[in-house]
């Protein structure tokens, strides 16, 4: 199968899946099966997919362990909140999203250049420190509302908009991974010395992956601010970074479909466990331990969910008959 056929097939599958999810959930909303309570879960899933997709590029594909994703998210969230609180129009929301994403990406570059020389645990600690710095800033600046945070942020997000942001994020990141630049990032994960000897400027691509991850974290944060209309510095603590990392690890490092599935599974588990109140966190933890025991490589490992083999054979024949 050549590149063109493969691309055509992938486009068709993506369109079916994406539009299918849009239509089905929209129908369920209109039929009042999904009410505002379930909508919170769906919004969380979308935002977590956007956040985790960016982190997966950094951690899963480029192999750089980052614990600072909540910091980039906070930048996006506060930027969007400040813009929309001032004006309240859709334009200000759009500007807020863009400003948040760009600002987060710039911070990603600034943080990435010194810290990405570090490896493994050291990098994790450095990025963790960065996220804490952002949180402390948010806690002490007047423009971010101090410890009380910001509230009454105008809500602009709805299901179709969250859907569009999620789908576009995934399409862009997956497209990047399947390019020469994306392969350069993956080569760094596989063997840094070999990658460098094959002509890849490893520092440049690590920083690039970090900046792209931060950019989408900024978007995720902006959507979070608009969806949940309250921001507090404590939201963007260490645990938020861990939550996002959990989605990546659970779904499988280096699998985008894994990230999507894990974001959905984790949010739905949380929703179903609401009725167990005290036991909720215990059950959640037990489930995580169980999944990690039986699937240490994550739900999907580093594979992508694709077309089953028997379908592939049929599809292979179909284009030739054209």
């Amino acid at each position: 199968m050549d590149l063109k056929q493969q691309r055509r097939r992938n486009t068709v599958i993506t369109l079916v899946l994406a539009l299918g999810s849009l239509v089905i959930i929209q129908a369920l909303i209109m039929a009042k099966v999904i009410r505002s309570y379930q909508m919170v879960t769906i919004s969380t899933i979308c935002i977590n997919i956007i956040l985790a997709a960016g982190l997966n590029l950094v951690t899963g594909f480029t192999g750089q362990f980052s614990l600072g994703h909540a910091g980039f998210m906070a930048i996006g969230a506060y930027a969007c909140a400040i813009f929309t609180l001032r004006d309240g129009s859709l334009v200000s929301f759009a500007l807020g999203v863009i400003a948040g994403a760009v600002l987060a990406a710039i911070c990603g570059i600034l943080i990435g250049i010194p810290t990405l020389r570090l490896k493994g645990d050291y990098l994790a600690i450095a990025t963790l420190g960065f996220a804490e710095i952002i949180r402390i800033f948010a806690q002490n600046l007047t423009i971010t509302g101090g410890a009380a945070g910001l509230s009454n942020i105008p809500k602009f997000t709805n299901w179709p908009m969250l859907w569009a942001f999620t789908v576009i994020t995934l399409l862009l990141i997956v497209a990047f991974i399947h390019s020469s630049h994306g392969r350069a990032c993956i080569a760094i994960r596989e063997d840094e010395i070999a990658a460098e000897s094959m002509g890849i400027n490893t520092t440049k691509y690590k920083v690039m992956a970090f900046a792209i991850g931060a950019f989408f974290a900024g978007i995720g944060g902006a959507l979070y601010a608009s969806t949940f209309y309250i921001l507090k510095p404590t939201t963007f603590g260490f645990m938020k970074s861990i939550d996002i990392l959990m989605v990546v690890v659970l779904g499988g490092m280096g699998s985008m479909t894994g990230t999507v599935i894990a974001a959905a599974v984790l949010a739905i588990i949380t929703m179903l466990l609401q009725s167990f109140s005290e036991l909720r966190m215990v059950l959640y933890a037990v489930m995580l331990v169980a999944i990690m025991l039986f699937r240490p490589q994550g739900l999907m490992g580093d594979r992508e969910l694709g077309v089953p083999e028997f379908l592939k054979k049929r599809l292979k024949k179909a284009p030739k008959a054209e």
Binding site: D2, L3, K4, R7, L172, A175, F176, H178, S179, S180, H181, G182, R183, A184, I186, A187, E190, D191, I193, A194, A195, E196, S197, M198, G199, I200, N201, T202, M208, D302
Partner: protein, 259 residues
């Protein structure tokens, strides 16, 4: 002017001088061997030439395409861009990636599209370039009859083919000078014979200059025109295979002194 000139190249790790005052000249189109007992500093010399280590002092001068420049102390990716490619003694493939991806990664520095917008939006330019890269990669893989395995993960190839893939990957960077670090290590005599003829063919077809480290004397003596011998970090001798075979110092270094 030779293609590669090494002048008084030295590398010390603290008190240990791994490579000491090494001088070397490689002409365009030559196939030169680098031999020496274990721990003589052969791989360290390779690492100095490819920028993995920075030399303590000394010069490395590359002269290709009518341009002469010093390359010591440059970053590995810059040296790769200057036209020196290498393989590794202990295979360093991108194990989890397909054979095709391994080769395409090495083509990255010559990729003809930009990250934005081409890579993110898969523009027509992206499609054209990717198709060209796949075609080029397949042609290179054909040299070692690997193209039918292009979709297999590198780690699933048998040992000998992994060594071949490393050479293909190095070739994909379009080098003028190819450094091979023990290409025949762990191969049986038949495999070594096949490799020997393929190396000769590579050199003919691509006008390559090759420097190779090897312990397998059948390969070294058969294909190399000149041989450098390294011992305890110093250049012990150099000359044609016959000269080296009859060199007293070399025999002593390998076998010990006659009593």
């Amino acid at each position: 002017m030779a293609l590669l000139t090494v002048k008084n190249l030295t590398k010390s790790f603290g008190g240990l001088t791994a490579v000491s005052d090494v001088n070397m000249k490689i002409d365009e189109g030559e196939l030169v061997g680098l031999i020496g007992p274990n721990g003589a500093g052969k791989t360290t010399l390779f690492n100095l030439l490819t920028g993995v280590y920075e030399p303590t002092h000394g010069e490395v001068i590359l002269n290709t395409h009518g341009k002469e420049r010093q390359i010591q102390g440059k970053k590995p990716y810059n040296i790769c861009g200057e036209g020196i490619a290498r393989t590794f003694q202990n295979i360093r493939l991108f194990k989890e990636l397909s054979v095709l991806d391994n080769v395409r990664i090495a083509m990255h520095q010559r990729v003809g599209y930009t990250m934005f917008p081409d890579a993110f939006l898969h523009t027509p330019k992206y499609v054209r370039e990717e198709e060209r890269m796949i075609k080029e990669a397949e042609e290179l893989l054909d040299i070692f009859e690997l193209s039918h395995k292009k979709n297999e993960k590198a780690k699933n190839l048998p040992y000998g083919e992994q060594r071949h893939l490393e050479i293909v990957r190095a070739m994909a960077t379009k080098p003028d000078l190819l450094l091979l670090d023990e290409p025949a290590a762990g191969m049986n005599p038949n495999e070594t014979a096949v490799l020997t003829s393929t190396i000769a063919q590579l050199r003919r077809d691509f006008g390559l200059t090759i420097l190779l480290i090897e312990h397998d004397m059948s390969l070294v003596m058969n294909v190399c025109e000149r041989i450098y011998v390294l011992n305890y970090g110093q250049m012990l001798a150099h000359g044609t295979p016959e000269e080296i075979q009859n060199n007293k110092q070399v025999i002593e270094a390998y076998l010990g002194e006659e009593r």
